[in-house]
């Protein structure tokens, strides 16, 4: 891992088109700004992991058709 020290306001360039800016620091927290082409996806790591895990769990629903109707007690369908 490349480790670089930056002061507030300084930047890091990744490839040609991604810029990471140290916007501010307050105690333990660093505010980071990211400029990147719109197709580049950017996430807080733990959020990325949570969504990946959730998708994975969701993909392993039973390999058969479920009766969705059980979610709606008779006469209670939400449309």
């Amino acid at each position: 891992m490349l480790v670089l020290s930056r002061k507030k306001g300084e930047s890091i360039i990744i490839s040609d088109d991604i810029e990471i800016v140290v916007v501010s620091t307050e105690g333990d927290t660093v505010k980071v700004g990211i400029r990147a082409p719109k197709h580049v996806q950017i996430f807080r790591k733990e959020i990325y992991a949570a969504v990946k895990e959730s998708n994975s769990e969701a993909a392993s629903s039973p390999q058969k058709l479920l009766d969705f109707g059980a979610l709606f007690p008779k006469g209670d369908i939400v449309e």
Binding site: Y48, S54, N55, A58, F68, A70
Partner: protein
């Protein structure tokens, strides 16, 4: 060939193409929505490139009337959205065996451009929503009913 529906037939104009794959499933971009029980608002998002892969989805606003988020401009651009009329929002559900225990991922909804039939899973950046919101306990102000993380 699919594991839940056998040989699935569909029209070319039913195909939804993801501009970027679902997180963790980046290789798969082509899906169709299957609605097996017309009177129940849950569907399967069936992958055309892997017959075993399907996600259960629903309109989150039916269960979470207060669900609210802002779609960032970059996401609107990636999806080719120029107006609000062509947007459909779907939440992926996690179901183990009992559908009544199903939870919805409100943190990363699927946004569909219904005109171009493009879609993307958009992860909300500044939000209190989580990946598991119980459907059964949903209702107004249901953000308080989140399960797990």
């Amino acid at each position: 060939m699919t594991s839940r529906f056998g040989e699935l037939s569909y029209e070319e104009n039913e195909i939804i193409t993801f501009t970027q794959g679902l997180l963790g499933f980046d290789e798969w971009l082509r899906y169709v929505i299957v609605h097996p029980q017309a009177d129940v608002p849950l569907q399967y998002l069936q992958c055309l490139e892997d017959g075993d892969l399907a996600f259960i989805i629903t309109d989150p606003f039916l269960f979470f009337a207060d669900y609210d988020f802002e779609l960032p401009d970059e996401e609107r651009e990636v999806l080719g959205l120029s107006s609000h009329e062509h947007v459909t929002v779907r939440a992926i559900l996690t179901v183990k065996d009992d559908i009544r225990l199903a939870t919805a991922n409100l943190l990363a909804p699927i946004i569909i451009n219904t005109e171009k039939r493009w879609a993307k899973q958009v992860v909300l950046h500044h939000t209190e929503y989580k990946t598991r919101h119980s459907l059964a306990k949903s209702g107004a102000g249901s953000i308080d009913n989140q399960e797990g993380k």
